[in-house]
């Protein structure tokens, strides 16, 4: 190609004299680790020996996950009455758990998409784990509405596929919108997650031979050697196929980065719309306490809040177990805590405004619904919600608390609990005490409800542990790209250049 005209303009003489100002910024990677160190560190998680705690965690989660299987088999055999659903509460834990899990997923998309568009470089250390969390949380969420339909073998009627009796789904129903929103969300999150992983999978693929050689040397018995041969073959094909032949070509990076940016741009309206549509499940119904316009923004803020809580719950233990302190630094934890604080305060504000509007709207039914929430039979749940969601994140105003990883972790657990109770309060209080006092009832879940929900944590754990073991936990190609040395105009420090 001939010399483009732009070159002259791009490098005017004056630029050679200009020295960029030194801006003291928190480094994304601490202790000035090299590119190779980052590769070794993250690939080491997948390539090294399986830690004992992984096996313990896997067995425990597997056993807990079996509760889902047993709970669902029992439910299908007996009917949805096994879930403690009866007049007037026909929406119980199933919907609560669905919204809870879907909400958790939202932080993953927020971190990977919205923070990418906002050029928040710190996202690179946590986005992969958070995206994995999203996908597994959506899988857990999907179980509940699927089985809540009662005859789960007819669940495919929800999709616009011609059935034998020619009836189509009802597009006027928010529950049908949910089908589209949640399945789109699951699929797009999966595409985004996988595409982000391509370069990292290629790195692991290229290291397979070296790793196999090293492991073979360490193998002592015949059995171990046989296993290593099998394991080598598995890894060769597993990573080879998944990496799609990625070779780091810049012609590829150019298209890849464009596609990644577009996926981020698409995921942003997606993540906002998904919880908006989930909130429509409630807001479109003509029921006091549900029929409010504040629901969409309030649900989205709550979802991001709960998701960041879960990110902290997962990433803090992983950070210390794998020694990732240089990659997930205190700066990252500060950022996550601050977002948790901001969204938690938004949720608190929404609780306040709901009460205000209930009074200001002068609708006696609406007013009753809210007074009943705070002081009625479910007051205990309401105050757990307020304590966990509004009060506990306020601790993150203090630097001292944000620096105490154990305390941050405890607060993150409170956030998870609080957000579950929020959905419980919204769903159950409005239904249990409806327009006609004669039909009021006190809703209690059954043991099937409790065990099934408990089991989903096991399922989530199993999926997440498998992810840790086989796929790159941190998006290390992206982490390298945000290091100062990755900039072609990077100037080594003055001592070096002198």
């Amino acid at each position: 190609m001939a010399q483009p005209e732009g070159t002259v303009l791009r490098d005017p003489e004056i630029l050679k004299e200009v020295r960029p100002a030194k801006m003291p910024r928190r480094p994304i990677v601490e202790n000035d680790r090299s590119f190779h160190w980052i590769t070794e560190k993250v690939c080491g998680i997948v390539e090294g020996k399986t830690p004992i705690w992984w096996w313990i965690g896997f067995c425990v989660c597997g056993m807990v996950a079996s509760f889902v299987g047993v709970g669902l088999i029992y439910l299908v055999a007996v009917g949805t009455g096994a879930w403690g659903l009866n007049s007037p509460v026909f929406w119980g834990w199933a919907i609560v758990n669905f919204v809870f899990w879907i909400g958790i997923g939202h932080a993953g998309t927020l971190i990977s998409a919205i923070l990418l568009l906002l050029k928040q470089k710190w996202r690179t250390s946590i986005n992969r784990g958070a995206e994995a969390m999203t996908i597994f949380a959506v899988s857990c969420a999907g179980i509940f509405p699927l089985f809540h339909v009662g005859r789960v073998w007819f669940a495919w009627w929800l999709f616009p596929i011609p059935t034998s009796n020619a009836v189509w789904p009802n597009f006027r129903s928010p529950l049908e919108w949910d089908v589209f929103a949640v399945s789109t969300y699951g699929i797009v999150s999966l595409l985004f997650w996988y595409m982000g992983m391509l370069p990292d999978l290629a790195t692991i693929r290229d290291r397979v031979h070296g790793v196999a050689r090293k492991r073979m040397e360490e193998a002592r018995t015949v059995f171990q050697r046989k296993f290593e041969i099998f394991y080598y073959g598995f890894r060769r094909y597993f990573y080879g196929i998944l990496a799609m032949g990625w070779r780091g070509s810049n012609r590829h990076w150019s298209n890849y980065e464009m596609a990644y940016l577009l996926l981020a741009g698409l995921s942003t309206p997606l993540v906002l719309s998904v919880h908006t549509i989930v909130s429509f499940d409630f807001a479109v119904a003509n029921l006091p306490g549900w029929h409010t316009t504040i629901f969409p923004p309030y649900f989205v803020a709550g979802a991001i809040f709960s998701g960041f809580g879960m990110v902290l719950t997962l990433m803090l233990p992983l950070r210390s177990m794998y020694g990732l302190h240089d990659l997930i630094t205190q700066y990252h934890i500060d950022c996550i805590c601050k977002i948790t604080l901001a969204t938690g305060s938004m949720v608190g504000y929404a609780y306040m405004i709901e009460f205000f509007i209930a009074w200001y709207g002068a609708n006696p039914y609406e007013g009753f619904a809210f007074v009943n929430r705070a002081f009625g039979p479910y007051a205990w749940a309401y105050w757990i919600m307020i304590t966990c969601n509004v009060i506990s994140p306020q601790l993150f105003w203090f630097k001292k608390i944000r620096r105490n990883a154990a305390l941050v972790w405890v607060v993150s657990i409170f956030v998870n609990i609080g957000m579950w109770f929020e959905r419980f309060v919204i769903t159950v209080t409005s239904l249990a005490n409806d327009f006609l006092p004669a039909s009021w009832d006190y809703y209690t879940p059954t043991v099937v409800d409790i065990f099934t929900f408990f089991g989903t944590f096991g399922l989530f754990g199993v999926l997440f542990l498998l992810f840790l073991r086989f796929l790159p936990l941190l998006a290390f190609a992206e982490i390298k790209a945000v290091k100062a040395e990755a900039d072609p105009h990077y100037q080594p420090t003055q001592e070096d250049s002198a």
């Binding site: 009836v167 290229d206 799609m244 596609a259 577009l262």
Partner: protein, 176 residues
């Protein structure tokens, strides 16, 4: 061995490959590539690449998605099996909007995802540059420029000399 695929040179830093790419571009090479472990900012311009074509796929996907959503709601609710539900109209552009919106995003995301694979000619599980014995370092921490022997102005000795001159380390030939 048989024919040579091309000549490859390794570089240690992002700055090195950036400046080398500018020189290779200005020397007039067409069939060449820069291999990097992560996207190097500005390298597209240094290589003289044009803007990616992926957005076309995304737009087509989104466009098809939106109208598919609207169409299925009209076809199923108002044309194929009209059914009165809650006294609402058979079709209105308002209520299927969430469905059309989600399908817009879904198909646009498919467009971006598969558009990336189509424009990049992937999956291609084997490529001649993978014959290079130090290929693994390119997905780790080193950068490479490879010039194909198919390039119109490729000349074995001259191209090799150019890469050496640009500061390329370990300049070697790759077999087809």
């Amino acid at each position: 061995m048989s024919r040579k695929y091309g000549v490859i040179a390794l570089f240690d830093t992002a700055a090195d490959i950036y400046h080398a790419a500018e020189q290779v571009r200005d020397a007039g090479y067409q069939r060449w590539d820069a291999l990097t472990p992560f996207p190097v900012h500005g390298l597209d311009a240094a290589m003289g690449l044009r803007r990616s074509k992926v957005p076309i796929f995304t737009f087509v996907g989104g466009f098809v998605g939106f109208w598919t959503g609207m169409f299925i709601a009209w076809y199923m609710g108002a044309y194929d099996y009209p059914l009165v539900v809650g006294g609402m109209p058979y079709f209105s552009p308002v209520f299927p909007f969430p469905v059309a919106y989600e399908l817009t995003i879904l198909l646009a995301a498919f467009g971006a995802f598969f558009g990336q694979f189509i424009t990049n000619r992937l999956p291609m599980h084997h490529h001649p540059v993978m014959n290079y014995e130090k290929f693994a370092s390119i997905t780790d921490d080193r950068f490479a420029i490879v010039i194909e022997s198919q390039d119109p102005i490729y000349d074995e000795s001259e191209t090799e000399a150019l890469l050496r001159e640009l500061g390329g380390k370990e300049v070697t030939f790759i077999d087809e």
